[in-house]
Symmetry: C2
Subunit: 282 residues, 2 copies
Amino acid sequence: MERKRIAVVGVGLIGGSLALQLNEKGLASRIIGVEASDTHAKQALELGLVDEILTMDAAIAASDVVILAIPVDSIVEILPSILDKIDQQILIDLGSTKSALVANVDGHPKRKRYVPAHPMWGTEYSGPAAAVRGAFENKAVVICNPEAADADAVEWTRNMFRKIGMHLIEMDAHDHDLHAAYVSHISHITSFALANTVLEKEREDQAIFEMASAGFESTVRLAKSNPNMWVPILMQNRENVLDVLNEHIAQLRKFKSCLEKENWEYLRELMEDANRIRRILG
Amino acid sequence: MERKRIAVVGVGLIGGSLALQLNEKGLASRIIGVEASDTHAKQALELGLVDEILTMDAAIAASDVVILAIPVDSIVEILPSILDKIDQQILIDLGSTKSALVANVDGHPKRKRYVPAHPMWGTEYSGPAAAVRGAFENKAVVICNPEAADADAVEWTRNMFRKIGMHLIEMDAHDHDLHAAYVSHISHITSFALANTVLEKEREDQAIFEMASAGFESTVRLAKSNPNMWVPILMQNRENVLDVLNEHIAQLRKFKSCLEKENWEYLRELMEDANRIRRILG
């Protein structure tokens, strides 16, 4: 692959980690950062994530590829104006929702330069200092509605994700948002809610966390996630997330009912059903 | 510490991991396994977890210390009969609940030889092959009602846990069960229920797990846990677990209400509240 000049808009956890991989795999001749936060811009330069920081317009003009790694409310807002400014560049976004983004540029004359993508990797941390080397290796990436973009743009995007070690899944944006609600968004809500459950109790009982173990940490670590990222995701995927949340509360009520009625046979059945997740997680 | 002959009853995940540590730290002159399952008994010998397998009675007679690492329904059932057979041995259990166990030997003439303990470590796997070297290091262990046991028994137990790298917490059995409901038992229920939520959907949509990422795995991995261990824990800690489960469902309903009413300000507040868990998890 010929090296390209790549603009990364938002050099935080996701954008910063991608910049590291683009460099390591020799995909970029130059990486230009665009950053709303001066502190993050400075950090991104110091950490060597980007070669320079430019304004959005200067970055678009100086790049072959523009990659958006900012919260999804910002993506949906600026997508049309970025497409307005694009000539033959490829535009990729890495947001955790897809339907609202795609809908907002439907019919745009430059729509075919845009490839919506979602790499299935993240941590509960944010900012340039949270960037991780080798982050995306052996993870899945979803490319949405590839038929709606130019073949060269989709092909370059596929190759980029393959080179940084990801395996490709392609699907419609609506399917993506439904699946993401089940295998990502609901996990964040349960973690946030579990954290609040225990923190509420801690007000009257200071010693409660002394016993916290790896199992607890595992189920609650996503509660450290950044609201700036997660409020917009849940806003945009509201209906799917509500469906899954209702189903999850219904499942929890089954456990509650078993405990209330001391129905231990059914409790065992529910756990055995859940054990089938071994098939998926290994 | 003088090396002792130690009987480990139940050489699975917990008993097997403890046996490895007792050997490594030079705490045992001999480790005797007691195992209901012939397969597990054979594995425990092959893996070198124990020096020999004996029947319960022979093991008690041949030991200075007896450690119970079996499901809590079995512990509560056999505790009195084991105390009946004990002379000056120390009896320790490692169960995840404490109140029912302690209550069941209240007033027993040998009660003072019994030290109830709960090492805050485990994984979602079980059996001798799941035993982990160095498992308990830097983890917490709760010793309950130390004033109810002989000083020599408590002191030896404290030293054993310190030698294998654990830090001690001491509290009343009822406080233990309340805290365990919050920082361990509820996490297992949320994981079981989350697994069932997604597995239910998978029936109609096979592709749903293709996108599963580390965040999902983290919140759902406890759903692989063994019902033989977890049904009895929830049975014995039923009232505390019901309280926490009700609170957790109430917390989830707050998220649901935000989504239904599109109250994004309050959703942000809930997430910011949950972010305070950073103080605990680091």
